[in-house]
């Protein structure tokens, strides 16, 4: 962690900026794998905030765009290996969604390195630890994304304050 630069971030000027990555992990494989990494006391970057979901097929692309819109510097989506899905084919849906989602994020100017999906089985704690550390260093090299600030720069939310997330479209 010697490469960390001092950059202002959303929590206050002058503080050391740390990448904040949201990880969506499926319950049956990837979360268990992450748990295994912890149980085995492997060392890995502490920058991923894990959201446990029942299946990677449940990860609506809106969850990913919402994470970025609310200030995540990176998002990682992890599911069971193809063929291992507890719900038979949930991860096949994830697999089919990811290329399109990646393309859309690129069109919004989000670097491809900020978004990653992979397959981590319950036995692959080591892979999880490696992947998270790699991803953290990639995002660290890119610097903060800070989407809320970018929106303010473009005057989005200008005038009346934006309605709180989740209150749209009743």
């Amino acid at each position: 962690m010697t490469t960390t630069e001092t950059k202002p971030d959303r929590t206050g000027a002058g503080q050391k900026w740390e990448p904040r990555i949201v990880g969506f992990l499926c319950y049956w494989c990837s979360y268990t794998g992450a748990d295994g990494a912890g149980t085995a006391r492997m060392k890995y970057a502490p920058n991923v905030d894990i959201v446990k979901v029942m299946c990677s097929g449940r990860i609506d692309p809106e969850l990913v765009t919402t994470a970025f819109a609310n200030g995540a510097d990176g998002v990682v989506v992890l599911g069971c290996h193809l063929g291992d899905c507890h719900y038979i084919n949930g991860n096949h849906k994830t697999m089919a969604r990811m290329p399109l989602l990646r393309r859309v994020l690129e069109d919004y100017g989000i670097e491809p390195e900020r978004f990653r999906h992979d397959w981590v089985s319950a036995a692959e704690g080591e892979k999880f630890a490696r992947l998270v550390t790699e991803m953290t260093e990639q995002v660290r090299a890119l610097g903060p994304l800070n989407w809320p600030e970018r929106m303010r720069e473009r005057g989005v939310g200008h005038g009346a304050d934006l309605p709180p997330w989740g209150s749209n479209h009743k």
């Binding site: 692309p61 399109l100 069109d107 473009r154 009346a160």
Partner: protein, 327 residues
């Protein structure tokens, strides 16, 4: 309500094409019924009212004001604030006012890139001196002020509190009439910020008459290259139809006319990001056993972002391009 017992109605156009104003006339002869109960107090497209006439009205004078178009410049914001003050009920009318609409596709570019294209690089432009419009300009005849161009396209609700939102590009005539009837009779839903009216709660698929055969998409096609088999779901035939991610209310009008849904009614209830919703839907529909195959299939979709967010860039989660979109 005024002395003659009639409702005062206003209609304003901001960053829009004028189609919403026309769609109000699409209610046909029913406009005569409307004229019996309502007076037009402001409608720049159809009647000669000035902003100063509106400014002279007492606050809350307009019973209902329909605001169509998104907010692209300072004039549109100023009028939005004025109309909010003068209106009892302010309705965002049409896709642009509700979700940014077509104008909000400009949010993928920076204002600088837009000006470069419009005033310098456009092949039909002859501008050797490189003149760009300035908000304040001194002429020999006095100072000229024109509205300032905003860095992004905004929805009406980003500027003022909106009572109801009537989506659609343009809103479908029967839904407009139902909404007007509801307003006139007082049978409107509780006034709340951006409650959607004149639309359903489900998706266009819910009203679509075509048959789903539960087959996967093996190829994406463009509608000018392919004549779809009648009666069969267009999406399953490989035409990108926004139906699964789009709010119902239109009665699947385009699909009945042989065209895939373009998504103008915005996201379905409880969904924020229409583009993300169609990606979610497509995930279960692609005939792809490997990621390479999925990549190959989706690469057949031309301009996916522009098509997924065609009417809702300003309502999507991300709203603007990260770097201001120099490209």
């Amino acid at each position: 309500m005024s002395a003659n017992g009639k409702l005062k109605v206003g209609m304003y156009w901001a960053a829009s094409c004028g189609g919403c104003d026309i769609s109000l006339l699409e209610i046909g002869a029913r406009i005569l019924d409307l004229a019996q109960v309502a007076d037009v107090a402001f409608w720049p497209c159809a009647a000669d009212f000035k902003y100063k006439d509106v400014a002279a009205y007492p606050d809350g004078y307009l019973d209902v004001c329909f605001y169509n178009g998104s907010v692209r410049n300072s004039e549109q914001e100023e009028v939005a604030r004025l109309l909010r003050q003068k209106s009892k009920t302010l309705v965002a009318y049409g896709a642009c006012a509700c979700d940014g609409g077509i104008p909000a596709l400009a949010n993928y570019k920076s204002p600088k890139a837009i000006f470069q294209r419009v005033y310098h690089d456009n092949p039909s432009i002859d501008n050797p001196e490189g003149i760009e419009p300035q908000p304040n300009f001194e002429t020999p005849f006095g100072a000229v002020q024109i509205p300032a161009f905003y860095p992004a396209v905004l929805r009406l609700r980003d500027i003022v509190e909106v009572d109801y939102e009537l989506p659609g590009c343009p809103p479908q005539a029967d839904r407009v009439w139902e909404t007007i009837q509801a307003v006139v009779s007082g049978a409107v839903p509780a006034r709340n910020q951006h409650v959607r009216v004149g639309c359903g709660q489900k998706t266009v698929c819910d009203e679509c008459p075509l048959e789903k055969r539960e087959v996967k998409i093996t190829q994406f096609r463009r509608h000018h290259e392919y004549r779809p088999e009648p009666g069969w779901c267009l999406l399953e035939q490989g035409l990108l139809c926004m139906g699964p991610a789009t709010r119902s209310g239109c009665g699947a009008l385009c699909i009945k006319g042989g065209m895939p849904c373009e998504g103008c009614y915005g996201p379905a209830a409880a969904v924020e990001d229409q583009g993300a919703a169609i990606i979610g839907a497509l995930g279960g529909l692609l005939d792809a056993a490997t990621e390479e195959r999925a990549q190959e299939l989706v690469s057949q979709i031309t301009d996916p972002t522009g098509r997924f967010y065609r009417f809702t860039t300003a309502s999507g989660m991300l709203k603007v391009h990260a770097q201001g979109g120099q490209s």
